[in-house]
Symmetry: C2
Subunit: 149 residues, 2 copies
DNA sequence: GTTTTTGCAAACCATTTGCAGGGTC
DNA sequence: GACCCTGCAAATGGTTTGCAAAAAC
């Protein structure tokens, strides 16, 4: 995901292209793993960018609504964000380096409708989050070489 | 879930059976839907129970570790809890009345291993949360009678 | 020129913590 | 009696808000 895509998303939705928003688009586009609003605030501050705390939260809110970013709830209870391409999907999150990979709905769609049928609920929304170790982090890890699921 | 089961869980794990913990066990056992720590604090206060704010949080933490309760992350970002029976499972949450139903792992287990295979991650943990309308709430709803998933 | 955005700082609010007193085993 | 728990109240830390100035269209 590059800066331009995020900026275009804002522009296309009728939001004004301001300095702070462009700056944030760049910071976010550079991210590889998940990040928190506070991390973004600190990074902007460290780089002497003119971006206030409130603006970071407000921009993330807009970007989430536009589907350019998605909010994750980490097992720790923290709220983190990840950049994303499509509107709805799910992620595998590496609990060591924070890297995320998108996963497609595949069998999940069927699973959800099956659950709706069994419980009698009308299911409007669902969230699936997976946590573990990405291939790169596994490689740097000591111990047994065998891999379990 | 009744008060006794929760108390037994605490006792069995070596925790002391104190007044506040018994009181909380009762409040929690009576809950049908999801609830927040703050709601519990307020309810205890309203009923003049001798239970401090900190104790509510500390007790919920213990109960979660024991698997008597599970924490949900609602789409709103709020943290809520639900009583539960087995150690690991997932929930469908009614976004209108808050009622929850447990759902079994069923096809999910396969789905998770499939995702691990495709992404190369070692998946250690996963969370699936479904949101929608429970049968009772659907029945009280105006509008078209047809149901969609 | 009108409308949106921003930054700041204060307000908010859920959650955590330190610690002295009280309860449980 | 030793150790675990509790309440309180203060500290914490993420997130939101009010508002006047600044920027975008």
């Amino acid at each position: 995901m590059d800066t331009t895509s995020i900026v275009n998303a804002l522009d296309g939705a009728g939001y004004r292209l301001t300095g702070p928003r462009r700056a944030l688009a760049t910071l976010i586009a550079r991210r590889t793993g998940h990040f928190t609003a506070t991390e973004l605030v600190d990074e902007a501050h460290a780089k002497r960018l003119r971006v206030g705390r409130a603006t970071v939260f407000r921009t993330l809110e807009v970007l989430e609504a536009l589907g350019a970013v998605e909010r994750l709830d980490l097992p720790s209870g923290d709220h983190a964000y990840v950049v994303c391409r499509r509107a709805h999907h799910h992620h595998v999150v590496c609990s060591r380096c924070g890297r995320t990979s998108e996963i497609d709905d595949g069998g999940l769609r069927f699973l959800v409708s099956e659950i709706a049928r069994r419980t009698g609920y009308r299911v409007d929304d669902h969230r699936l989050e997976l946590f573990g170790l990405c291939p790169a982090c596994m490689a740097t890890l000591p111990g047994p070489t065998s891999v379990s699921a």
